[in-house]
Amino acid sequence: MTVTGRFVLLVALGVVPIVLFGNEPGVAVLVLLGWLLLALALGSLDLVLAASPRQLAVQRMLPRRVRLGESVTSELFLTNTGQRTLRGVVRDAWQPSAGAGNNRSTVTIPPRERRRVTLTLTPFRRGERRVDRVTVRSTGPLGLWCRQATLSAPGNIRVLPPFNSRKHLPSRITRLKELDGRTSVMVRGPGTEFDSLREYVRGDDVRSIDWRATARRNDVMVRTWRPERDRRVVILIDTGRTSAARIDDEPRLDTAFEASLLLAALAGPAGDRVDMLAFDRRVRGRVQGAQGAELLSRMVDTMALIEPELIEMDWAAVPAQVRAITSQRALVVLLTSIDAAGASTGLLSVLPQLTQRHTVVVASVTDPVFTRAARETATLDEVYRAAAAERALLDVARVSAAIRQLGADVVTAPPADLPPALADRYIALKAAGRL
């Protein structure tokens, strides 16, 4: 039960009769009591006549998924199963991060009828956004007192990673296609596969002329090659404590998601099989054996629920995890952070096991704050900051050199540039036939 502003006004209006008729103290008290009784009687009457907020059937219609940054419409159907017209306010209690804004709406539902309440949701955080309850406040016909009840009406919506880096996809796919049909002069390496024969045009490498075919066709033929296909790509995302750090107002983990989504979107058309694993001390998410369009949708679905865990990454378990996914030679992409040498010993100690069997790329986000700070040396504090930034950059360089020495590849870039940089590295590896 609650009261409305109108009831407050009604009580306050009691001043008028008290002042008009109450020059004698006794009479004034009587008028006051009378007015209060009148207000209470009217309020009680209103409460009795108000429709019950419990006699309401609630149905929801929600889209299952939404990309972060996009808006969806949540529909709530309220059916009045009672005998009286329900007038009141409905609050659809979404989590704040669902971005519902003003979630209260005024409704009037005659008996046996149904109304739809629509709400525009613009979630601003990744993950599962929930709603559990609907609170209904039913006002009486006089608008003085209300009945209020909270109804259970659960619903949820999955907010997927935004995949902003998909804008880089068309250009990368174009470059991937350009690899097709190149002659061996441009594409060298043991992994390239013979594709077809075509007529020689000026500019082709004479070394790729197939003399046997030339003899048969009475025309100069050259062999063409295409990049190898059906290779395995294993993306391993570090969800340990370092992935929680915010760089350029984006957690490392989200940048890793962007990069792995772009890589998967690229590797799919290139004919490679992509498996994804999110891991710290146990598996937080796994996408295995998905192909084509299903791959990306399963990946974003899995990623939506993954949050950084504040525990140390267990690198010792990584080789076994990779082995469980594939026993073939694969491109293993480790999306982690390259920090000081002390923090990277775990990674460095298991890299030889991985590089023995697989091609390994370690991708890490660098902080643009470091490079900015290293350039500014106007004041004493800035000099010390620059020294600290240079120290950090030197540490990263040292660890990167150590990783390269162990036979792995390193990709480091600021958050916005890491996904395309990783995609470029993938294309370069593919062109070199090193997959």
Binding site: T4, A93, G101, T150, A388, R391
Partner: protein, 455 residues
């Protein structure tokens, strides 16, 4: 932030056929009034029980409290006078309790021969009222008279201070005093320095004589009786005013000690009626301008009460929660550059100038080596020579900037950092593709250590 919209016109049959039963009500999480009452029944009972106990305790404890006016006939506290009044009633004396002079007059007209017992510890009576008091009944017992009372009723009697004697004995002819023999020692006394004891009292109009009892020194007495009119037998127009200096003599606490009770009963029990008059605020004459309470109209207090109630209602209106709060798990927010800032503050706090500068130098040397076309594995000396050659500066100067100079003050540190940056800029400028002409031709970027070049 668009406001939610409500669309009408989609009736029930939108998803269910008309013959189908209406959809089931959503389960409510708010408890019904009955359920809420059942759940909080214990607390309701506990609060009601507690209030009941408190009320009962107050009611039963009221009679034993120390409150009430001193010497009031219904006050059972130590300072009260209920013991005396009750004993008088048991002896068949009618005790009439009055609060104002008007009531006293009315009581006196009903019983003209009554004895008036009065005391005014709060000083509520004025001199005129004391004058009126003397004429109401023939016998008046005034306990603990104040200055105004003495001025109005017994001008010759003054104050005698606290009694210092160990015992108070009657030593007078007053029958009641003789019956009492002694009084509890201590307490106030009255001074009779202005009167002739035992003589006619010329100064008092119609005064016949003064009897003073219970002396505690020269001219200091605890009880003084002034009589007027014909002293010999004719009781009709004789009047007696008895002044008892100390009020505690007749209190419940002390009435039973010494001869206090005998004195009291002797003074008050002589007649069939006693008017027990303790002045109240009703005796205070209303004078001066009307008070604020009289000037305010009658509706002011009710309006104030109404405003308070309106505020409470408004609080209920605004404060009632529209359903429970929805919890939200917030993510951890750690800035990635936290460690760098911390390290910078550590350098700064420990004045690690050389260490900071060396870090900058190492990074700069690595960049310079790349800039002049040397491998990453080139030695420091090779880099120094190459940089000196490409910028055309003396080797010593380059070595001082990149290796040698030791910053001893903060100013040195900033200056050296600036020179480091300047050297780097000069090298970039010297080796930039457009400025090859300015580079001395004698120094080609020769591969100094071919064996260690990276592929």
């Amino acid at each position: 932030m668009t406001a939610p919209t409500v669309t009408s016109g989609s009736p029930v049959r939108l998803s269910t056929p008309a013959s189908a039963p209406p959809p089931a009500n959503a389960p409510a999480t708010t408890p019904t009034l009955r359920a809420a009452g059942k759940r909080s029944l214990f607390w309701i009972l506990a609060v009601v029980g507690g209030l009941l106990v408190a009320v009962l305790a107050t009611v039963f404890a009221a009679g034993t409290g120390a409150g009430g006016r001193p010497l009031a006939a219904d006050n059972a506290a130590p300072a009260g006078g209920r013991a005396l009044a009750e004993v008088l009633r048991q002896q068949g004396v009618t005790v009439t309790v009055t609060d104002t002079l008007e009531e006293t007059r009315a009581a006196a007209s009903a019983a003209p021969d009554a004895t008036l017992f009065t005391t005014d510890p709060d000083g509520l009576l004025t001199a005129e009222r004391y004058g009126d008091l003397a004429d109401i009944v023939p016998n008046t017992v005034l306990v603990d008279p104040d200055f105004l009372a003495l001025q109005a009723l017994a001008p010759g009697v003054g104050f005698g201070g606290e009694s210092s004697s160990d015992e108070l004995t009657a030593t007078c002819a007053l029958p009641a005093a003789r019956a009492a023999q002694t009084l509890s020692p201590g307490g106030r006394t009255l001074g009779t320095g202005g009167l002739e004891i035992g003589d006619d009292l010329g100064s008092l109009p119609g005064a016949a004589g003064v009897t003073a009892c219970f002396p505690s020194g020269d001219d200091r007495f605890s009880v003084v009786q002034l009589t007027s009119g014909s002293a010999e037998g004719d009781a009709d127009d004789s009047a007696a005013l008895t002044l008892v200096a100390d009020a505690t003599l007749f209190s419940n606490e002390k009435i039973a000690t010494y001869g206090n009770a005998a004195l009291a009963l002797g003074l008050l029990g002589a007649t069939d009626d006693v008017i027990w008059y303790l002045p109240t605020l009703g005796d205070v004459a209303v004078t001066g301008p009307p008070s604020l309470g009289e000037l305010t109209p009658g509706w002011v207090t009710p309006v104030l009460v109404l405003l308070v109630l309106t505020t409470l209602t408004a609080a209920l209106w605004r404060g009632r929660r529209f359903g429970a709060l929805v919890p939200e798990n917030l993510p951890v927010t750690v800035k990635g550059s936290e460690t760098m800032e911390g390290r910078a503050r550590l350098y700064s706090r420990s004045n690690a100038r050389l260490r900071a500068l060396d870090t900058l130098r190492i990074a700069t040397v690595a960049r310079l080596a790349r800039q002049v076309g040397l491998a990453r594995s080139a030695t420091l000396d090779e880099v120094l020579v190459a940089v000196a050659a490409s910028t055309g500066r003396p080797l010593d100067q380059v070595r001082s900037v990149l290796v040698g100079a030791d910053p001893t003050t903060d100013r040195d540190l900033i200056a050296l950092t600036d020179r480091l940056r300047e050297l780097e800029r000069a090298t970039v400028h010297a080796t930039a593709p457009g400025t090859t002409a300015s580079t001395p031709a004698s120094i080609p970027p020769k591969p100094a250590s071919t064996g260690r070049m990276e592929p």
